[in-house]
């Protein structure tokens, strides 16, 4: 950014510029090619997959047979519902709880603000360890419940700090005038502060959503019942560990080749992120920086 202002500095030589472009191109290709391969293979015709012996980079024609069998009502369909439920409900709960806490912490003169803030900040410095957390989750009776995917990770101290920083930056006059007009804390919060914070709410909400969608660790730890598995565990079992998906698991007689089913499962778990990514990207740099600076 500063580069353009600089006067009198010679442009880098052509070989240097070509070299840089080349390096960048390689970096980007290494990131993009796996995604292209997976998406292409999931829709490629069987014959082509067999000839290639694996991934296809450019499908000759497009067929959605793999997706049809995934959505036929078997293991994957169920896992998809679990993942969607956990992501939506979890994100809403996380946002509510985090915003309430962050709002309370952002109020000047809140008598318990200081100690509560310290409790929040301190929790970022250490992690209590896998075993004691597992025993706590077990102790509260969440083991083998879908809520085990939501409740233990419902609040992120980091996100609370970011939200608090944002709330504190809102002009004080607005909340003061609401107060003079007789609005209580709840009214000020819902009608004044939240509508002014749409940008930060969407970033933090998306951060939470991505975390819930990607949650693998808590599912692995807390869920034995495969009926409750989210997509990530299904991915682990049927793609990484290469367990065969038969018609019993898929709930359909029609069986596309294993490779395209596997790639279709991968695509199903990637696509939601690709969809929210543009929205996420518009705001995250700012969100991350507020957190880093104020934290």
């Amino acid at each position: 950014m500063s580069r353009k202002i600089v006067q009198g500095v010679p442009m880098p030589s052509w070989p240097m510029r070509i070299f840089k472009g080349f390096v960048l191109l390689i970096f980007c290709a290494v990131v993009i090619i796996p995604f292209v391969g997976v998406i292409s293979t999931s829709v490629a015709p069987n014959k082509q997959i067999n000839e290639a012996g694996g991934l296809v980079l450019l499908p000759e024609s497009i067929n959605f047979a793999a997706y049809e069998s995934l959505f036929a009502g078997g293991v994957v369909t169920r896992a998809l519902f679990v993942s969607i439920f956990v992501t939506i409900v979890g994100t809403l709960l996380s946002l509510t709880v985090s915003c309430l806490l962050a709002y309370a912490l952002s109020r000047p003169g809140f008598s318990a603000g200081r100690p509560i803030l310290l409790v929040v900040l301190f929790s970022m410095l250490f992690s209590p360890g896998i075993i004691p957390v597992y025993l706590t989750v077990k102790g509260v009776g969440l083991l083998d419940s879908i809520w085990a995917l939501i409740v233990p990770t419902m609040i992120s101290a980091f996100n609370v700090v970011v939200l608090r920083a944002f709330f504190m930056n809102l002009p004080n006059e607005i909340t003061e005038s609401a107060r003079i007009d007789g609005a209580g804390e709840l009214k000020t919060f819902t009608y004044i502060v939240l509508p002014l914070s749409k940008a930060v709410l969407s970033v933090i909400g998306l951060f939470y959503a991505v975390a819930y969608w990607n949650a693998f660790f808590s599912a692995l730890l807390y869920l034995n019942d495969s009926k409750l598995w989210p997509l990530q565990l299904v991915l682990r079992t049927y793609v990484i560990n290469d367990t065969q998906l038969g018609s019993a698991e898929l709930g359909t007689e029609l069986l596309p080749p294993q490779a395209s089913i596997q790639m279709a499962i991968l695509v199903v778990s990637i696509v939601p992120i690709l969809l929210v990514y543009p929205f996420l990207q518009r705001h995250f740099a700012k969100g991350v920086l507020t957190g880093a600076v104020k934290g």
Binding site: G8, G129, I130, I273
Partner: protein, 314 residues
């Protein structure tokens, strides 16, 4: 309530009265702080099972105290524990050497681009893998580099010798390291790019007036401008140096066996949650946590001695 921001000292109201006045805000904070206490502070107490012969059906209170017995695997150098420690340290060193500087180099490259548009497109592409779960990343790597992956199919169809990178225990540590680089290098550039944009452009002008070449400017202006953030991130890394990617490793442990893949976190999981040796696993986890905190505090002290800000002041 009217007096909140006035000059009247708060001490005039008793604590009870002030809490009563703030009861709505307290109610707001309650669910959030409750969750943090329940899942972050209560488990700290749960660490007492490191000193107990924990039996799940007796519960924490009902199990017998066992003193330091659970720590004997650590102090007597149990081979399985040492193996996990060794792999952890190898991975930490690899990460410090290769993963840590990667985003700094990439940020310098991005920052030196002339075209804002190319820069933005590259950023969008390079940030993307950060948002993929480890399951997805591992699956993608398998598809690209595994026995029947893209690379080997290419080699096979050109009659070249194939290499199975995924199942090869000798390459496992390198594989883990490159996966982290693939996933997070782009994302980690954000902080460095922000720091780079903070550098005063007058410094570059002054340097070029003094006849500094671009390399000299990089050395004398850009890198000093990044020093604070580099030190800060290195300290934070140190605190995590005994934590080397639980999800990433547990997903791939089957393929290569525990000899090269067992680290402290997987040791705790395999022996505790799966193996039922709760006390021992908790003891290892506890020592790991304490060492982590000590490393952060020490590193921060050292940073202060060198006159840097560190993570927190004083």
């Amino acid at each position: 309530m009217l007096q909140r921001s006035s000059t009247r000292p708060q001490q005039q109201l008793s604590l009870g009265r002030r809490l009563l006045r703030d009861r709505v805000l307290l109610l707001f904070a309650l669910p959030g702080i409750g969750l943090i206490v329940l899942f972050h502070y209560v488990p700290l107490l749960g660490n007492v099972i490191a000193f107990k012969d924990y039996q799940p059906f007796l519960g924490i209170g009902g199990s017998d105290w066992s003193g330091w017995a659970n720590f004997s695997v650590i102090f007597n150098g149990d081979p399985a524990f040492l193996r996990a420690l060794k792999n952890t340290l190898i991975l930490t060193s690899l990460q410090s050497i290769f993963v840590f500087p990667a985003p700094i180099l990439l940020a310098l490259l991005l920052n030196s681009l002339f075209s804002e548009r190319i820069k933005r497109i590259a950023q969008s592409i390079l940030y993307l893998p950060h948002f993929m779960s480890w399951v997805i990343v591992v699956a993608l790597f398998q598809q690209m580099l595994g026995g029947s992956g893209l690379l080997n199919n290419y080699l096979r169809s050109h009659d070249l010798t194939t290499i199975d990178i995924i199942g090869n225990s000798e390459l496992f540590h390198v594989l883990l390291t490159s996966q982290i680089i693939w996933k997070d290098t782009g994302w980690a550039t954000i902080l460095f790019l922000a720091a780079l944009s903070q550098i005063d452009s007058q410094l570059y002008e002054a340097a070029s007036v003094d006849g500094a070449s671009r390399m000299k400017q990089l050395w004398h202006v850009t890198l000093p401008g990044l020093r604070g953030i580099i030190i800060l991130l290195f300290i934070l890394r140190l605190g995590d140096s005994l934590t080397v990617g639980f999800e990433q490793i547990i997903l791939q442990q089957q393929a290569v066996g525990r000899d090269v893949s067992e680290v402290l976190d997987t040791y705790v999981y395999n022996n505790g949650v799966l193996g039922g040796a709760w006390g021992v696993a908790a003891a290892v986890g506890l020592v790991k946590g304490i060492v982590g905190v000590i490393l952060v505090l020490t590193a921060n002290k050292v940073a202060h001695m060198f006159g840097e800000q560190g993570v927190y002041q004083r």
